[in-house]
Subunit: 372 residues, 2 copies
């Protein structure tokens, strides 16, 4: 994170339009840097709550009090995806000297709509901060929501240098990791790494609607991991999937082809080449999974993992991690596994492979129950 | 776990056929309870390694030394799925007074094959311990591998009471949680909660084979969670999916139907009812996901979650959990999130909702950076 906020050197305030989770978080983060922030929301209540939590000054409140509303130099449109383009066009017209950016999770359709409206594209830049949380609304906002998360800047062909600089400064000031991409490339990327996983998780989880609960009680971590994001907000995802329909459907054609291939194979599992067909699908999954970068954004890396059975009481897991720290080994990853029917926690720990054997032996010596 | 091992009261030794990860883990667990264990494996090396780690006495070594090989009262077949039925049939013939059980992850086809061979079904019982780890082979074995994990006992119509009792005793002695189910019901259940998630994860991950790495660097926890099990061993899964082809393909027909429905919707996202169609898919995913039981095997439960940004140095996460323990709040779940490109860890913590506000405030007072 830059020490001196780049955006604070701009000459006027930042106007945030839409003060839900993301808009209010941007407001809070900028206020922490002493940047002047104005907030506007279609809902007077949401706007008032955002002001109350310190995300900026309510434009409505200023007007009601007869006070001067300063002219923004940067407008951040943080409204729901399906109204973003319209608000961007209005903001470009209303604030003829301001840079206007949006933070919606699909970029090309918004750029197209803004261009179609004949707006000044030199002052508009689309962006996508890849952050969020399971809750929504300004009460859930956190100024540090963007810390260490990617923030993609997607300039269009007409976007001016000043607009790009303003977007980069905002992202950097809020602690995010910058990436620059063309709008269409961005949309194809998120279709694959975000929207398709959401669809597959929902398709899988929807199969569980009628499964008896005593069957589901046998579920392991695999089912929990693959279905976790199926718990996401349908209203938001309808807008996202509808807006990015074309790249998502391209990926779904490929999924359909693989599903057809697997169905044909499993309908005759003793047939010629059937086992080879299954093996190929599994190996392709291996190959794709291995390409996902690990922690620290580095190349994919294999860590050694082991599992410790711990009593499910406060402080036990802390004590385990304290001892791992005492032994001098850095924790690369950990997960707490669920134990159907028993009050025992299973903590799976990932460490550098060359520290694995020593650590397991030392933990066992100290009385920890290394189970796997 | 029972204090007095039930199986130790049987009159003879346990013969474990197949001394890979699971067979050797069963041997180790029984040896911890002072049960006499004999081990046999198609590979002399694997059998010798299993003896060396203390999983039991090698039958081959006893014979080579001209020593007496005692007659087992229980035979546990822990061989690869595609040879299990044949080994069960042989064991029933070779040991005419022993109970024979297997631990393969698909049950009905094995029972059918054993029945078709005209073997003594009264002494045979299929079982499925739902435990494993990413590594294989006897070196990876752990006597506590089955602690708190489900172990499904699947008697056939002809299975006798003594066989069922022996299987239950084995599972309980090894610390597992017992469930009894008919073979066909078991196979349908694992098709849905284990095999379909594996297939969906592989289908999703295989789409990433040609994705540029700088696109994958934008991946969040959602993609990591949904694709983690796509890293599983293809050789094993070919056998599992081929053996349980019928129930898996039934689920895949339903997935195909939903994929077709979604493709039709996304090909015309502005069409009549398109958004409703997407919303319905998402809501069905919500409904299925919400039915998966939470920790402790209880009813699904919503915990309050928040995220803390921590330095990625040894001991920091331990200190966080220690302080949560000091504040007196029990950790219901936690996950360590990956931070692309930055050496900052994001720890997401789940707690009882009624402790959420106090805990977050207290942690912030203590200087922790609660980011979401």
């Amino acid at each position: 994170m830059s020490v001196v906020p780049a955006i604070a050197s701009s000459t006027g305030p930042v106007l945030v339009v839409g003060s839900g989770l993301l808009g209010a978080s941007i407001g809070l983060g900028l206020r922490h840097l002493d940047v002047e922030v104005l907030i506007r929301d279609a809902s007077p209540t949401t706007e008032a709550v955002a002001q109350d939590i310190g995300a900026g000054r309510s434009v409505r409140a200023l007007r009601d009090a007869g006070e001067h509303v300063p002219e923004p130099t940067l407008v951040v449109v943080a409204a729901p995806p399906d109204v973003v383009a319209e608000i961007v066009v209005d903001a470009l017209a209303q604030h003829p000297h301001a840079v206007v950016l949006d933070i919606a999770s699909v970029k090309a359709p918004i750029l197209d709509a803004v261009a179609a409206a004949g707006a000044d594209l030199t002052r508009y830049v689309g962006t996508h901060p890849m952050a969020g949380r399971e809750k929504s609304g300004p009460v859930a906002a956190r100024g540090e929501l963007f810390t260490s998360m990617p923030w993609v800047i997607c300039p269009g062909p007409a976007t001016g240098a000043a607009a790009i600089a303003a977007a980069k400064n905002l992202a950097v000031d809020l602690g995010a990791t910058l990436t620059v991409m063309e709008p269409a490339e961005h949309d194809e990327t998120v279709a694959l790494i975000s929207h398709l996983p959401q669809v597959m998780s929902s398709l899988l989880a929807s199969r569980l609607q009628d499964t008896p609960l005593h069957h589901l009680s046998l579920a392991g971590q695999g089912l929990r991991d693959t279905t976790r994001i199926a718990g996401s907000d349908p209203a938001l995802w309808v807008q996202i999937l509808a807006a990015n329909a074309r790249p998502v459907v391209q990926s779904l054609y490929e999924v359909r082809e693989d599903v057809e291939r697997l169905i044909a194979t499993l309908e005759d599992p003793a047939g010629d080449g059937a086992r080879l067909g299954i093996a190929r699908l599994m190996a392709e999954g291996n190959a794709g999974q291995a390409r996902i970068p690990g922690k620290h954004g580095g190349a994919p890396k294999a860590f050694a993992t082991f599992t410790v059975a711990v009593d499910d009481t406060p402080g036990t897991i802390a004590r385990l991690l304290t001892e791992i720290g005492e032994i001098g080994v850095n924790l690369e990853d950990m997960r707490l596994e669920h134990s159907p029917g028993q009050p025992v926690g299973l903590v799976t720990v990932s460490v550098e492979p060359n520290r694995y054997a020593d650590l397991v032996e030392e933990l066992q010596t100290r009385g920890w129950k290394v189970v796997q």
